[in-house]
Structures are given as C-alpha cells and as structure tokens.
C-alpha cells in the first residue's frame, strides 16, 4: 500500500532539514491547523453572534465524539455518524440555551460564563455515567484508511480529507454568515435585539438556533477528530484551552480570525514538535502572548472600547 521505499539516512539529529522534511512537517501543520479551526469555530460563532463565552464548548465536542461512537456501533457508517451526531449535540445545545442561558440574558455576560463553567463538571460526569470511563475510538471510514504520497511526503488520506472538509466548512460558514439572508437576520438580531424584535424577527428562536448551531459545530468536530484522537471523558477539558487560545489569538467573534489563528498555531506547534522538542508545550502560549501584547483584541477582533 504505502510505496515509501526504505532509504538509508544519516541519524536525524546532525543533518540540516531537507526540503521534503520541511514540506512533510508543513503538511502536518496544515492538517493540525485545520483541525484546530474545526475545534474552535463553534466557540467563535457563539461568542461572535451572542456575546456568550461558552466554556462548555469542550463538552459539546466530547458529546459529539460519544454520539459518533454510538451511531457507529449501531450503523457501522462513519458518514451517518458525521450527520447524526452534530444534530444530536445541536439539540442538546438548544435545550441548554432554552433552560439555562435564556434567564441570564438580562443579567449580563458574567453569569453566562459562570453557568457554562458549571456545565463542564455536569457533562463530564454525565458522559462517564452513560458511556462509562473506557477509552473508545471512532475508526476512519473504510476508503480513508490508507496513506497517500504527496510530493514525497506520506500523509494519511484521512488527514487530507480533514484539510479539505475543514476548509469547505470555513467557506460555507463565511457564505452563510456574510452572504445569505439568514446570516443577515442573525447578525441583525444579535446587533440590536430590540430593534430586530420590533421588525418581527423572532429573537428567542434566533438565539436558540445560533447557540444550537454552534454546539452542533463543536459536535461535528468531535466526530471529525474521532479517527485521529480518541473518545474519553477527559477530552472535553483537553481541547478547551487550545480552542480558547485560537479564538483569542484570532480575535473573539471573528470567523476569519479563527481560521488564520488556528493555521498559525497549527504550524507553530508542529514546528515546535519537529525541531524544538523541549518547548513543544510552550509554543501555543508563546504565540498567544506575542500576539496579545501587540493586539489585545486579537488579529481580526473588534477593537476594544
């Protein structure tokens, strides 16, 4: 299957990185960057649209992964899981918004952030109660289990799929938010809810819809990341910090910022792992600190007051 011939090579430590090495790692960085974008776009959307920092974002990602595992157990179809899981998580998001977040809208952002923080504890233990603590996984779809040779670098075909899928989601979201009537309605509803309500836009339903959509996106990323990472009760907390940093670096609420931010961090982390092994854990924070010193509101964020 893999046509990569065994090549005699000098030990890696004492030779200059050859071009194909750099290209291979850049490809890894791109794949990881796009995955980071998928992980964080739901968070950006909910903040951008509703001014809510959804700290329970990681929990919806985890729920998506577990929903994917369940659908796969029942139907053996990855593609079905890719469709059903986000919808299921979206429904959960809608219920949470209706029951818990709606009473807090008049009380301001602090209470909403704190509520989502409480949900983290709730969801993690709920998942463990329902699915148990065992580590589970989502197998890649049959046709994407081989590895592909791209200009001399071997890359799993599933990662190529993630790159294509992620960029497609980015374009689709950009079109939805910027170009469609629905996007305009949502932006109007959020920008000035009293005015929009006055014009007959059902504000409550818009807010529930946007929150459910954001949660669904997080659930989608849970299924997409399934074949690469694994599903365990701890993964919600693990991805929260990288997702938050991508969103802060890109600029809170900016879709473009989320994409650019995740691509930068994807490359920086991969570069760190490949050539600065000791500092790999620090790369994401170094990038963040650097950008926030220069632009506190992030690359494309709305300027602060």
């Amino acid at each position: 299957m893999g046509r990569e011939p065994g090549r005699a090579r000098l030990p890696p430590s004492d030779r200059v990185p050859v071009v194909s090495d750099v290209f291979a790692q850049a490809l890894n960085g791109l794949a990881y960057g796009v995955l980071l974008f998928l992980l964080s776009v739901g968070l950006t959307l909910i903040f951008g649209m509703l001014d809510i920092v959804n700290l329970a974002h990681g929990s919806y990602y985890m729920l998506g992964a577990y929903a994917g595992v369940t659908v796969l157990m029942m139907t053996e179809s990855f593609w079905l899981a890719l469709v059903v899981a986000p919808v299921a998580v979206g429904v959960v998001g809608a219920v949470v918004e209706r029951l818990c977040l709606r009473p807090l809208y008049r009380r301001g952002p602090l209470d909403q952030v704190l509520l989502t923080f409480g949900l983290i504890y709730l969801f993690e233990d709920l998942v463990k109660w329902i699915w148990g603590g065992r580590i589970r996984s989502i197998p890649a779809p049959a046709l994407l289990t081989t590895s592909v040779n791209v200009l001399g670098a071997t890359v799993p075909s599933y990662r190529v799929f993630v790159i294509v899928f992620g960029l497609a989601v980015a374009v689709a979201l950009w079109l939805l938010v910027e170009k469609t009537r629905l996007g305009a309605v949502i932006r109007a509803g959020v920008f000035d809810s009293e005015m929009a309500a006055g014009m007959g836009i059902p504000i409550d339903r818009v807010f529930t819809g946007v929150f459910a959509f954001g949660a669904g996106l997080a659930g989608l990323s849970g299924v997409i990341a399934g074949p690469i990472q694994s599903a365990a009760p701890s993964i919600g907390a693990t991805i929260l910090i990288p997702a938050l940093i991508v969103v802060v670096v890109g600029g809170l609420g900016s879709l473009k910022g989320s994409l650019v931010g995740s691509l930068i961090i994807g490359q920086a982390e991969t570069f760190g792992k490949a050539w600065l092994p000791g500092a790999s854990m620090l790369m994401i924070y170094a990038v963040m600190a650097l950008i926030l010193m220069l632009r506190p509101q992030g690359l494309f964020g709305r300027p602060l007051k």
Partner: protein, 404 residues
C-alpha cells in the same frame, strides 16, 4: 423553572449538606473493634478510573473467595477517589490513616501521589502495598520497611526487552515516551540493556504528556530510517500514538515494540487493528496457560460480566492475596507491624503471573517472568499472545536500605 422556588431549593441544599457532613464520622466511630480495614487510594473518576476499577475488581475477587473474612475478622474495603491529583490523594491517605485507622493501605495509580504519601506512610508505620504506581525510587532511594509493591517498578517490564529487541527485531531503534518521569524511567531501563546488547539508539523523542497529534514525531521516525521503534505510552496517549503510527503507514517499514502498557486491555479495544503485530514486554497477559491464571480469567469473567482481566486486575489479585496470606499467618493480628512485615517478606504463592515473591532487599515484587507478547487476532478478538519470556526479573534496588 420557576416551579423550583428559591426557599425549597436552598432548604433542600442545606439539609443534604448537614446530613452528609455528620454522616461518616458517626458511621466510623463505633466500628473500631473487629474488622480488618483495607484502604484503597485509587482514581474512581477521570480518564484513569478504568485502572482504579480493574485493580479494585482484582482485589474483590480474592476477598469474595474468602467470603470477606480472614482469620475470623470481617474484611472491610474503604475506597477513596484520589482523582489522580497528588493533593487529593495525600488528603485521602491521611483520612484513611488518621481517621479510619486502616490496618493495611493499598494503591495508588499515580506515581506523584505515591511519592507524595511516602513520608506520611513511613512516619506513621502504616503498611502500604503499592498496587500500581511504578516509580523506581520506591524500590530504591525512597524505599521503606513498611512499603511493599505487588505491581512493578518502571524498570522491570522494560529492562528485559533491551536484549530481546536487539536480538530478534533490530539493532537500530528509535525510542519515544511522554515527557514525564515514568516515561524517562521506562526508556532509561530499555536503553541501558539495549545498548549493552550492541544496539544503537538512532533517535529519541519525548512528546508532551496528553499529546493529541503525533504526526510531527511519526514523520521524524519515518525520516530517521529506523527499522524499529521502542515506545512507552499509556491511556489516551497510547491510543493516539498506535493509531496514528498505523495511519501514517509506518507499520510496513518499521516494527513497533514497547512496554506492555502500550497495548494493555484498557487501550487495546480502542486501538483495534492498528495494534496488530505490536510486540510488548509485560509481567502478565490473560492468555498465560498456567492453571492459576486459567481459573483467575474464568472467575473474573464470571464475576464481572465477561470483562477480560488485565495486568491491573492481576495486580489487585496479588495485593489481596498477599494481605489474606499475611493476616492468616499472624492469625488476625495486625497491631504487631514488625511481625506483619516479617510475614509479608516471606509471603509466596501461585499468582496468575507465576510464582509470586517479594524481594526481601527492596520489598518490590520479583517478576516471575517478563513475557514478550505480540498482538494477534485470537478467539476472543485482539489479545497479547505470549511468544517468549525472561525469568526472575528483580529491580536493582540501588540505594535501598529499607529504613524503619
């Protein structure tokens, strides 16, 4: 939501808090006299809860066989969740020692908790039987007369694999493990014996603990041209590494070997076919054909709904077995700690892993065998099939004087 009026909600919360706060001390106070109290400091929440449960089940199997009594004393197991967090683990240890006054303490999983509680256990002369954490120090510089270990020292599963890999797999190996103490201990033991057998380490990498994207490391391994990799990963790291190793098509040109934890039953199902062919060294595999193990596997699966026992369950089994035999030998007397230690030192029995003995010099288990196993498709699905073994693996115990 308005149905839940504020008064009733707050009233309810206050009542439960008072009830809960009063509860435990009342219960513990009057049950001082007879039972043999065994404390368990293990993770019951979070990612490592699966290990905590396996170890506990292994112990329950033995105690149930003795229908929860030994030398006339009722066995009482007190389980405490350490959440894999050193401060919580230490607090729970102090509760078990000071408040519950347990006769024998067991656990933990996390080496950080073990190192954190070592001084308290030593100072209070409480007998601790380590049922998992593999920190080498506990059988070396930080050993103690009162601390025994039935699981392993990080050194034991890896040291025998050095010569075996050099001889049977390749002399050019790339080594990798997470960037934390246990990772360095395990690779250190392997490198020590591998280099001594004429092997050459042609690459070394330490991804961060909890890494989710191993692509950069796997690309480096491919580019290094190594014929084999020796790796130590556990939990979600092990699942991620093994699956991505396969995804990157490395399995064709590079043989993956490692410490047993890389493919133990807590991670093997999630790894699936990606784990096929992986060679690992460990003191146990459910497929061992000795009679004790055959009965252990049968009883375990019967009692726990067909769940296959793993190395952690075997550690639980041996911990409970040591306790039962020692307390029988002192016919129920656990006050005389010196006598209990003397008896424990001489404890010997047939364990699922083979003939179980403690090393009198370090109180660390002498592994009857470290089995070399390969992941194959067998009747019950994927499992670690033993293909070779190295006998009597004793931790060097450098710097251990068993201080009292």
């Amino acid at each position: 939501m308005k149905a839940v009026t504020r008064r009733t909600f707050l009233g309810g919360a206050a009542a439960t808090a008072v009830g809960v706060a009063g509860g435990p001390w009342v219960l513990r106070a009057h049950a001082q006299s007879g039972p043999l109290k065994v404390g368990l400091v293990l993770p019951y929440t979070g990612a490592y809860a699966v290990l905590g449960e396996s170890i506990t089940q292994g112990m329950e199997l033995v105690f149930a066989r003795e229908n929860w009594t030994v030398a006339g004393r009722k066995i009482e197991m007190i389980k405490e969740d350490d959440e894999m967090k050193p401060p919580v683990g230490i607090r729970k240890t102090e509760k078990l020692i000071d408040s519950d006054k347990v006769d024998i303490l067991t656990g933990p999983v996390h080496s950080g908790i073990l190192l954190g509680m070592r001084d308290k256990v030593h100072a209070s002369k409480t007998i601790l039987i380590v049922s998992n954490a593999g920190a080498d120090d506990i059988s070396r510089a930080k050993c103690s007369k009162w601390i025994f270990r039935t699981s392993f020292s990080n050194w034991q599963p890896n040291w025998p694999m050095g010569p075996w890999v050099a001889k049977h797999v390749s002399k050019e190996v790339f080594v990798t493990a997470p960037n934390y103490q246990a990772g360095k201990d395990q690779l250190g033991a392997f490198k020590e014996s591998f280099l001594a057998s004429g092997g050459r380490v042609i690459g070394e990498d330490y991804p961060k603990l909890g890494e989710t994207d191993y692509a950069p490391y796997l690309t480096k391994i491919k580019q290094s041209g190594a014929k084999a990799v020796y790796a130590f990963f556990s939990g979600t790291d092990a699942v991620g590494f093994v699956r991505q190793f396969d995804e990157f098509g490395l399995k064709q040109s590079v043989k993956l070997t490692g410490a047993g934890f890389l493919v133990e039953p807590d991670v093997l199902p999630a790894q699936g076919k990606a784990a096929l062919g992986i060679i690992s060294g460990h003191f146990y595999t459910p497929l061992l054909d000795n009679p004790t193990n055959v009965r252990f596997v049968k009883d375990f699966r019967e009692k726990f709904g067909g769940k296959m026992p793993d190395g952690f369950a075997c550690q639980g089994y041996d911990t409970a077995e040591s306790i039962v035999r020692a307390v029988k030998a002192t016919n129920g007397n656990t006050q005389d700690k010196e006598k209990l230690v003397a008896v424990l030192e001489k404890t010997e029995f047939e364990s699922p892993r083979g003939q179980f003995r403690f090393d009198p010099k370090t109180h660390n288990v002498i592994q009857p065998y470290i089995y070399v196993r390969e992941v194959k498709e067998v009747a019950g699905g994927l499992n670690n099939v033993p293909i070779d073994k190295v006998a009597d693996v004793k931790d060097p115990g450098t710097g251990c004087t068993l201080p009292a």
